[in-house]
């Protein structure tokens, strides 16, 4: 008849409602479950149920310091970050030489590769039309977070 994979669990729920003193509730539950009460053995896979895979768990290492941001523009195309993509940004990760970072330049968020050069930080795009952007001492500049993942719709 129906899938028997979860039959073990349904079976035990049906048993629970059998002893329920309320007749009406019992009848309603039985009606709901009628089609899936099997007569046979419980599923042999029941002991191996391991939950499900959570993308959150995979993409978010530090839940307190992780934020999502939306990309606008094409300057990072070379590393696979496209217009409209969703970035997973962690503020707790140190921004080392070569990281892709969210930087704040003159009050605006920008995503670029960070180069820590002897003469000061440089922001590098991944697109032939965008030259390197050395940060001038008088510029308002800070690193907001480090890009950990890019979620791109295929």
């Amino acid at each position: 008849m129906q899938s028997t994979f979860h039959s073990g669990r349904h079976n035990s729920r049906a048993l629970l409602s059998l002893v329920h003193p309320n007749k009406e509730l019992f009848q309603r539950q039985r009606a709901l479950l009628r089609s899936t009460i099997p007569a046979g053995f419980p599923s042999p896979a029941d002991d191996y149920v391991a939950g499900h895979l959570s993308l959150d768990e995979h993409l978010v290492k530090h839940k307190e310091s992780t934020f999502f941001m939306r990309v606008a523009g094409v300057s990072m195309r070379g590393v696979g970050i496209y217009d409209g993509d969703l970035l997973v940004v962690d503020r707790a990760v140190p921004a080392t030489h070569g990281c892709v970072v969210i930087a704040v330049v003159d009050g605006e968020f920008t995503v670029k590769q960070l180069l820590r050069m002897p003469e000061g930080p440089v922001l590098r795009a991944a697109h032939p039309d965008y030259p390197d952007q050395p940060i001038k001492p008088d510029q308002d500049f800070s690193i907001w977070g480090v890009v950990q993942w890019n979620v791109h719709k295929v």
Partner: protein, 425 residues
Amino acid sequence: MQRAIALVDCDNFYVSCERLFQPQLEGKPVVVLSNNDGCVVSRSQEAKDLGIGMALPWYQLQDAARKHGIIALSSNYTLYADLSNRVMSLLSQFSPDQEIYSIDESFLDLSGIPADLTDYGQQIRRAIWQCVGIPVCVGIAASKTLAKLASHVAKKQPYYHSVCDFNRMTDAELDIMLDNIEVGEIWGVGKRSTAQLRTMGIHTVLDLKHVSPMCIRNKFSVVLERTVAELNGVSCLKLEDAPPPRQQIICSRSFGSPVSNLPDLGQAVIAYTTRAAEKLRGQHSIAGGIHIYIRTNPHKINEPQYQQSILIALPEPTDDTRKLCHTALNGLRQIYRNGYAYQKTGVILTAITPASGQSRTLFDDIAAQHQSSALMATLDHINRRMGSGTLRLLGEGVKKNWAMRRKNMSRRYTTEWSELAVCRS
């Protein structure tokens, strides 16, 4: 062993939250306004330096705002709550014992932590700043009351670099410090007590510290007597890990513009009752009564004035939004009078008891109760996942003529996929 209790307090919390996602606000005078863009509830240091007071009505500030370029934002509690949860969660990693005192303050018990506590406080600051981008200051002392004062000193005196540990000071040094703080700054000492203490010649914290506890108990209360003990370094107030369930749940707001017809008022009452019922279920309680009130704007003295309230007992205590709304609407119909421009309505749930202790009667419809709690659990689940108000009673209305004014609200950067911050690429 001397206790070491820390109070961690976020600086200008709402403004700091706004700046995290709008870095262009850095260095500018910024204020956040209360619901309906009424009063100033948070100010950046630049706004404080311009003399913008707390709780000032925004309309009184229009001229100053234009002159100094003050930026006023509507409050975005969704954003603040999310960032607050992140801060509190990080703080819990610094101590086995935490009390979340408010949206932007938390006590931590640091007793017995084998570290230089000033350094430890700096570590806390760095971690919160790095991970959530919110500046905090830390006050450490032998009691909660003193820790509050220490955080006040940490905030006001640049010498301490935002971390002040009273336990490190000698008694003489601490007394000099306390002599420079007015008695009204003490946690739990209100305006009236302050005035009365002044008539007794008690002006500073140090003055109160040295008063005989007996005298305070006779003239004031046991509560203030305990405050005096706490000022003397005797820890009397424990850290509460969970706030006690509330005995009353209030949801009331002023309207964006005056409302005079019953259907619009009804929508507002349903919306507020829905919110209150959510909170009620959040603390696993049921309510036995609802208080409804409506009033016109008392400041518009030329307009006809009316205010009325009514308390209605529920046939049986419940946490079901539908039953609460039904009763609330009945109440509203009884107190509503035609021909007035109403400014505010409020809903108060009372006679609150734990849901688990509900007594059964012979005539209880158990099946209906099961169905009701299943429905409410589903409703709460969906609204938690998909955003507050996703699933609601139709009676709340769709157009909402009465909705709050929030002219200048920032986006919900951390809780809505469609409102994420954008970075240029």
